[in-house]
Amino acid sequence: MQLPLREWLATIDQEYLGRFIAGGGAAVKFAVPHDDATRDALRIGLRRLAIDQGFAFAYVDGATTRVHMVDQIFFSVAKQVEWESLARAFLSGLLTQNGYSLPDADGDLSCRSIAASNGREELLLRSEIFRWLERAVYRDYAMTQEFRLAMISLCKGIIDPSAAPILVASVRQWLTGELRLISALKSALIFQRITRKNARHLLSSLPHWLRACGKRGLFLVVDTSRYTIATRTKDDQVYYSASAVIDGHEVLRQFVDGTDETEGCFILVLAANDFLSDPRRGINCYDALRLRISDEVRDESRPNPFASLVQLNDG
């Protein structure tokens, strides 16, 4: 049974984003759009909703990102995050909370500038700011240690823009999967690359950081419609083997199971039309996912807009 897109978007807006996700909840939903037009309308609608409600929005397309690997999902999301703006917002909040006046919105947040405009000695103010960062970021165990250290580095890069610009650039490259040598991050006390082993924890740290920086959380759309394409296409779009599809379903299963450890995050998985029918690549090929999201109890004539898995038409 299909739901009109408009009705479902209204449900997500009113019943999820506004109070639940913004209040620290987390949810993972699966949507099967009836056709490409519905898919496009859904993506546009969700983006608008998310931004209007103050969330950071990220769209990860399985055609260009290998979404069966959680580190690739993280890199794609990281490329869509405005890391410097977030760090600036966080620092602005930290300084304001501690009684400091700030320059204009896009003003200079360097220690020198803040010290000058608040009648403080730069050297002593710097020590204080680093202590605040330690308390507010390093001891915020809702985020994994590497993520905390990375965010501290980004904040320090704003406080002292000339002190370690290469380190700051390296941290951003690390986040987006583009860093060549991990040794570049030694002074940030980050010693390993982002891989499938640690990416999930970094991904679940991100919504918490977004909220600390004034956003309401993360709205993530992962498009897995390429999963049901069984033969390689001649273009350069990602092809998923049957085994890779199961890897991908396992990543999604972990998202579903991981909502307990996540706050302020809504993940929507956009699946292909034949996700429900394809026996080798759809929902039925991986029990662990099927048993979690199947609509096994439903009304005979009315679809439930709160269900884990919904089918949508362009109504």
Binding site: G23, C285, D299, N304
Partner: protein, 429 residues
């Protein structure tokens, strides 16, 4: 009122109204999807006194170092995962580190090192947040008796630990100022590799390379060492022990033959009575569907044919593997403790609680929903979903007539080659 009923959970009066709503909605989202979470379990409690009693006994024995485990059986949708969340809360409350591992493609039961890594990742440490092994390591007090005992245990030849483990402990104690090496050592303890040359270089700096003659080893062969070392590390850090909850074990039915045999062998090790063949120091609780014996060991023929097929295969360890697989199958056949279906009183109590949570979540008064006669034999999972679906739809339109359709969802036990390969098509083991 049945003594099995427990007091209705009241959302904490210290919570703000908004946070109470978020917790209630988290619980409803979890129940709606059939994936129990802490909020749902806290609100509904657990109505399995027999299992609770056995688990309490297991924890009591674990404090003295015993590792005898438990096998929990129940039909699909009867509350095994809900029980596990509850047991995890109980274990942590009693100062045990507790891991909950879900057997999956990424964490296959036959790959004990994957299971170890997953256990480290998922471990809850009482009173701490963050990466478990890191938090545990940071609690070590080098001057304490507990640490001294741990150090002595690690260095004692009687425990057959690979020498890299005592070496890592030696280094950890001595290089507290080298953050990078500390990071590497902690990651090693969490299941990652440190190369032989890296170990040797660090030991040489202290003139100890000869005292710890490290040689190459196949990572998977170190799995029992990892578990034993971590279990002792946890006790040295002041915790009561390590409980490992292994969920969805029935997935092993879908593995290709050899991996299935290895998975059975692992089950045998986890449920062994003897410390010589078990993962010493770790208290395991395994969850398995209650039709596994019939559907897989009997009808699929694993009991009769799997050991023979393994012995017939051309492989050095065929005989040993077949013997170990048989042990595992016997452990399953001995059976464990079975989840009890809820009594009508308990069902009514659960309905009342879920109704209250739904009301709190969405700020309305859901109607009471006695179970329709045809639902009385339904699994608890289906009942929960039926109530929540009705309330969801009634809240949107109180005039609607809800007529439910219920599909029977059952686990699939057919073999799947893709579960034995990674996404690049390579066999995982």
């Amino acid at each position: 009122m049945s003594r099995d009923l427990i007091p209705l959970h009241h959302w904490s009066s210290s919570m703000t109204a908004d946070s109470a709503v978020v917790h209630a909605r988290r619980a409803i989202e979890a129940l709606r999807s059939g994936v129990p979470n802490r909020d749902a379990v806290s609100a509904l409690g657990c109505h399995q006194p027999q299992i609770q009693e056995q688990f309490d006994a297991v924890l009591r024995n674990a404090r003295t170092g015993a590792s005898a485990g438990l096998l929990v059986e129940g039909g699909f949708g009867t509350g095994k995962s809900h029980l596990f969340v509850h047991l995890q809360q109980q274990a942590v409350a009693q100062k045990f580190v507790c891991s909950r591992v879900v057997i999956s493609k990424e964490t296959p039961l036959h790959d004990s090192l994957s299971v170890y890594r997953s256990a480290c990742e998922s471990a809850l440490v009482p009173g701490r947040r963050g990466a478990a092994i890191n938090e545990i390591a940071m609690r070590l007090d080098f001057r304490s008796e507990a640490y001294a005992r741990f150090y002595e245990w690690a260095h004692s030849p009687g425990h057959a630990l690979d020498v890299r483990f005592p070496a890592s402990l030696y280094l950890f104690q001595r290089v507290q100022s080298d953050q990078e090496l500390i990071d590497r050592l902690i990651r090693f303890w969490a299941g990652e590799q440190i190369s032989v040359s890296e170990f040797k270089k660090s030991l040489k700096a202290f003139g100890q390379a000869a005292s710890y003659p490290i040689v190459r080893a196949i990572p998977r062969s170190l799995a029992t060492n990892y578990f034993a070392f971590a279990a002792q590390l946890i006790r040295a850090a002041g915790y009561a022990g390590w409980v490992l909850l292994i969920d969805e074990v029935e997935l092993i039915a879908r593995y290709p033959l050899r991996q299935r045999a290895r998975a059975y062998a692992e089950i045998g090790r986890w449920l062994a009575d003897s410390a010589a063949t078990s993962y010493a120091g770790v208290v395991p609780v395994l969850a398995l569907t209650d039709d596994f014996r019939t559907a897989v060991l009997e009808q699929k023929g694993d009991r009769e044919t799997l050991p023979g097929r393994i012995r017939d295969s051309v492989s050095d360890d065929s005989r040993e593997l077949a013997d170990a697989a048989e042990k595992g199958m016997r452990a399953i056949e001995r059976g464990g403790v079975t989840l009890r279906p809820p009594t009508p009183d308990i069902l009514n109590d659960i309905e009342r609680r879920v109704r209250q949570i739904h009301g709190s979540a969405y700020d309305w008064t859901p109607p009471a929903l006695p179970s329709a006669p045809r639902m009385l034999s339904a699994r608890i999972r289906q009942l929960l979903k039926s109530w929540i679906t009705q309330w969801d739809l009634l809240r949107l339109d109180p005039s609607v007539q809800v007529n439910l359709q219920v599909d029977e969802l059952n686990p699939d036990y057919t073999e799947d080659e893709n579960l034995g390969a990674n996404g690049d098509g390579e066999k995982t083991s």
